[in-house]
Each structure stands twice: as C-alpha cells, then as structure tokens.
C-alpha cells in the first residue's frame, strides 16, 4: 500500500504537486492519470524519496521509503526516462542493483527472461531501442520481487505486443496481491489496464475513483431514439431524472437517464412505433477531458487570489 498524505512540492516558483493525498490499495491495478505536467512523475519521485516534498509525507508499506531495510524488496519502480547507464550491459545493470540488497544472481536471470531480454543481456544498454530500455527498466522494477510496483508511463515505446504483455503482467501482479501503481496520460490505456484511478491535474487531486465510476460521474450515457411518434414517446418517457431533447429532425429524440432497453419497454407499453434505438456511451476520453478541464478552470478561479504564483 502507498499512502500519500498532503504532499506539496515546488521547483522554484512552479508548484508541481499541490496538497495531494491519496492511497493506493493492494490487489488492484491503480492508474495514475493526468495530462503531461500534472505532477505524476514528481509524485512518484517523492514516493521513492528521490525528491523531498516541501510538506506532507508518504508511507510505503507502512514506513517512509528511506526507512526500509531492503527497499528494492518493498518497491520496484520504473521512472520516467531511462535510469540506465548506456555503457553497461543489461546484466551488469541489474547485477549492480541486485548487489546492494543481496538479491541472489539467479533472480537476475529470472527477470531478464521474464521481460524477454535473454538474447541481449550482455549487450550494452546504449544500443537498446526505446522498447528494450523500457523492458530493462521493468526487469529492474521486478528484481526485488517487491510488494509494491510503481511504473511511470510503462507503455512508452513498447510495440503493440509489448503493450499487451505489460497489461497482462500488471493484472497478474495485482492478482497476486501486490500494489500496482501505473501512471499514464492516456485514459484509453488506463481504461484497459486499471481498476482504480487517481486523476490529477496541475498537481491537485481531481478524482479518486474506479474506472466504472469515472464513466458514471463524468457523464451519463445517452440514447438516440427515432420514432414517427416522437412527441407521444417523449410523454411516455419523461420522469424524474430523465431528460428528452429533440433536435432539428422532429422524429429524433436524445434521451438521458434511461437505458435503451427501458426505452424500448416503455415504447412498447405505450404502443409507440420505434425505428431506431441507439445507445451512445460518453467516451472515457470525453469524460477525462471534461474532468481535467473543469479542474483547470476551478483552479483559475480559486487560486488566483490566494497564491503568488508566477503563472
């Protein structure tokens, strides 16, 4: 488990993370979502003790990261950009990390096999493609067989096969009871991988919700109905929480608050002919954009007077 408690971090006059709190639970994949520059990487560096927050604190598996006797066994992390010396082979890179904590050498071979770098383990990492570098970073994250796995934009540079592989891997790691925390700026990717979402914008928490919930919170699904008796149908459908609007075409209705099946049932009960019944789900992209967009506006309104930000 990762517990982030009211952390704030500024670089110069730029506030990267602003009073951010959330917890990441074991057993599920938690997506860390936000546009570029929202403070995701900063938060991850603070969790690992690489950057010191101006205020607030973070507990990983019940302790500050720096207080763990075997940190690589507690948290395995892939940070943004490469954290690999280009002159060193994949094997030696992992050996240097493993040695700090007494991780046995057989484990190095295991993780190299696991990420599919067996054939190039002795090659200088500088010759690696972006995707291979990413795989090596993931191997390093898994090296200590940690209970918490934290990956910053892991699908960057991976080919479709690799992306599929990492989705499966993350789900398996979570199914084993580990805490899996994965950042991305792509809601579409997170929708396929994550169960839970921490959404941030401008360093602030926007939503701490499940993927399903985000769909519900951000916008309801909408049903397009086509009927020659549109006015009659509208009367039959209207109720609390249901909105019916008609556009330029008088036979066309847009209904929110009812699903397609219910609309069909009501039409049948009312004896109304229906020619088309199409359910449109508000895409997660739309929902995400709406969410982050709102927060940006909200911030403009509330922060302008209280903070001397050099925006």
């Amino acid at each position: 488990m990762i517990a982030v408690d009211r952390i704030t971090k500024s670089y110069g006059t730029k506030r990267a993370v602003d009073d951010l709190s959330f917890t990441v639970q074991p057993g599920v994949v938690t997506g860390f979502l936000g546009p570029n520059g929202a403070g995701k990487s900063t938060t991850m560096r603070v969790i690992l003790g690489l950057d010191r927050p101006d205020s607030g604190n973070v507990l990983v598996a019940g302790k500050a990261y720096v207080d763990h006797v075997a940190p690589l066994h507690e948290v395995g992390a892939l940070l943004e950009a490469r954290a690999i010396h280009p002159g060193r082979s994949a094997y030696d890179h992992l050996l240097a990390l493993a040695t700090t904590t007494g991780i046995p050498r057989r484990r190095i071979g295991e993780v190299i096999d696991l990420v599919g770098l067996t054939d190039v383990a002795r090659t200088r990492a500088g010759a690696f493609s972006l995707g291979m570098g990413q795989r090596l970073g993931i191997a390093a994250a898994l090296l200590g067989d940690p209970g918490v796995i934290m990956l910053d934009e892991p699908v960057n540079g991976l080919d479709p096969e690799g992306i599929l592989w990492i989705r499966t891997l993350l789900r398996e790691l979570a199914a084993e009871g580990r805490t899996v925390f994965v950042s991305s700026h792509l809601i579409s990717e997170m929708a396929l991988t994550a169960d839970h979402l921490i959404v941030v914008g401008r360093g602030r928490l926007i939503a701490d919700t499940s993927v399903d919930e985000l769909r519900r919170t951000a916008g309801t699904s909408m049903v397009q109905v086509r009927s020659p008796q549109a006015a009659l149908l509208a009367q039959a459908l209207l109720a609390d929480g249901v909105t019916v609007t008609s556009g330029a075409d008088p036979q066309e209705l847009e209904v929110t608050g009812l699903d397609a099946a219910t609309i069909g049932d009501r039409a049948f009960a009312a004896g109304v002919v229906v020619h088309a019944l199409v359910s449109h789900e508000i895409s997660l992209e739309d929902a995400f954009l709406r969410l982050t967009h709102d927060s940006v506006e909200y911030q403009h309104g509330t922060l302008a007077g209280t903070e001397g930000m050099a925006a």
């Binding site: 940070l79 002159g87 904590t101 209970g147």
Partner: protein, 299 residues
C-alpha cells in the same frame, strides 16, 4: 501474497507473462535481503568494472605514466650523452635538463593526474547524465553509502593501478637513463616520491569524485578539476596580491602534493608530511561538502 511457481512457457524471444517467476518469496531469501555497507561497496565495484570506459581510461593512464616516463628519460639521456653535460646550458628546449632522475621517469604523472581526475568525475556524473542515479538512490535511499563506496572503489582502484605503473615507470626510466645517471629506489626520498606520485593520482581521482558529486555535471566538474589542478597554481600568483598568493598557492592540491611527489624539496612549498595532510584535507572537504548536498538535494 501467493507464490507464483510457474515457469516460463514461451521461448526467450517473447516475454513471459508470468509475473514473478520463482521470485524471492522463500523466507530464507527474504531474510537475507538488506542494504549493507559492504553490499553497496560491492555494487559500486560492479558498476566501476562493468564500464568499458573505465578500463580504457585506466589503460590510457598506465600507457601515459610508463610511456611518457620512458620518453622523457630517452630525451634526457640523449642530452646527457652530449659533451655539454647536465645543467650545462640546456639549449635544446626540453624541460628535463635540471630535473632529478626520479622526476624524469615520473614525467607522465602530470597528464595522468588529469586522466585519473576525469575518471573520478565520470564515476559520479555518468550516473547523473544517464539517469542511473535515480535507480541507484532508489536501491540505496540513504544515499551516503553510495558516495563513500564510490570514493573507496575509485580511490582503491586507481591506487592499485598507479602504484605498479609508477614503479614500472621508475625502473624503465632509470634503465633508459643508464647506470651513471640514474637513481635507485633505496636512495633518499626516491621511494617516497614514486609511491607518493601514485597516491597523488588516487588523490586526484578522489578530487574528481568530490567535484563530480558537488557539481553533478560532467563538463562543469572537469572544468573545475582542470582549474584546481592545472590553472590555479599559475593563475593565482598573477591575480592575487603577492602576500595572499604566497599564503594560498602552496596549499593548492598540486603544489601541496609536489612536496611528497618530488625527491628534492622545492623552495616555498610545504614539507612532505604537511603536503600529504593538505591533500587529504582537500579530498575530505570536497567529499564532505558533496555528502551534505547529497542528503539535501533532490536526486
């Protein structure tokens, strides 16, 4: 947490989806996992020896130490064979005419100090420029063991190479100089000068580690190293009032070290023991400053 005991079904070219393979869940394995000083030291040794650039740099330093010593000896011995003799005019333009045989055979040290210093700088700044430092400090979040281990590995590594290289350079140089113009290791101050020169190389490598850790930037740290070792001794007397420069200049690392790397003491410089102490203080100050910043700064 369950144990994933599956083995990989796929061939090695395709990544397995088995999350942890055999993993490290056996209680015996887990009980042994712990960051310790010796383990961090071992890790730094792995990093040091696993870079081709380390090996190449050290090889170049050895060639420079032995080769330049032999070359200088050959130049001087050619000169000595002429009728004008040692100290007689020296119009040939070489700089070894007045030097003692030990210094001549150690002529490569001036260049080697820069090479070793750069090796020390790169041991640290290479981690920052590649981003490796974040992986390093994630593995060792207390950070300071990394700095001490780097200093020990770089210091001991360069010393282990510099001592034999200096001895070889000395013997080769003396052999080239010939029986009537050379020095023996048992002569007064000669052994100290040879070993002192080797120790000075390790010292410059440590200065490089300290500057690298302070500045975290390759070009900046190498520039500072050049300034400290090569430029400051010549430049400070020109820009400072003479009373100041006479006080300061002997305490610069290169001048302080000249007190124990040469057989014959130079006027105006420290004694051998004081010179060694001053070099140690330089190294301690730079590494100490780096340690304080290392704990405070974001990685």
């Amino acid at each position: 947490m369950s144990i994933d005991t599956r083995t990989r079904p796929e061939p090695s070219a395709t990544p397995s989806s088995s999350a942890a393979a055999t993993g490290l869940r056996a209680p015996d394995d887990v009980a042994r996992l712990r960051v310790t000083g010796p383990r961090v030291l071992h890790s730094e040794w792995v990093k040091f020896r696993s870079l081709r650039s380390t090996i190449v740099t050290i090889a170049v330093a050895v060639v420079v130490i032995v080769g330049f010593g032999a070359l200088a000896a050959a130049v001087v011995s050619g000169d000595l064979a002429q009728p004008s003799g040692p100290g007689g005019g020296g119009g040939d333009g070489h700089g070894f005419g007045g030097a003692d045989p030990t210094s001549i055979s150690l002529a490569g040290m001036t260049l080697a100090q820069v090479i070793m210093g750069i090796l020390g700088v790169l041991a640290v700044t290479g981690e920052y420029s590649s981003g490796m430092v974040r992986a390093t400090f994630a593995a060792v979040p207390r950070r300071l063991p990394v700095l001490w281990s780097k200093a020990i590995v770089v210091g001991a590594g360069t010393l282990a190479v510099a001592v034999p290289a200096a001895l070889v350079a000395f013997f080769v140089g003396q052999a080239v100089l010939g029986a009537d113009a050379n020095a023996a290791l048992s002569d007064d101050g000669v052994l100290r000068a040879v070993l002192g020169s080797a120790a000075y190389l390790a010292g410059t490598a440590l200065l490089g580690v300290g500057l690298g850790a302070l500045l975290r930037h390759t070009a900046g740290a190498i520039g500072a190293l050049f300034g400290l070792l090569l430029l400051a001794p010549g430049l400070l007397p020109l820009i400072l009032p003479s009373s100041w420069s006479e006080t300061i200049v002997p305490y610069l690392p290169s001048n302080a070290s000249a007190a124990f790397t040469s057989v014959t003491p130079t006027d105006g410089l420290l004694s051998a023991g004081a010179g060694a102490a001053v070099l140690v203080l330089w190294v301690a100050a730079l590494l100490g400053g780096a340690a304080i910043l290392l704990r405070r700064r974001d990685a």
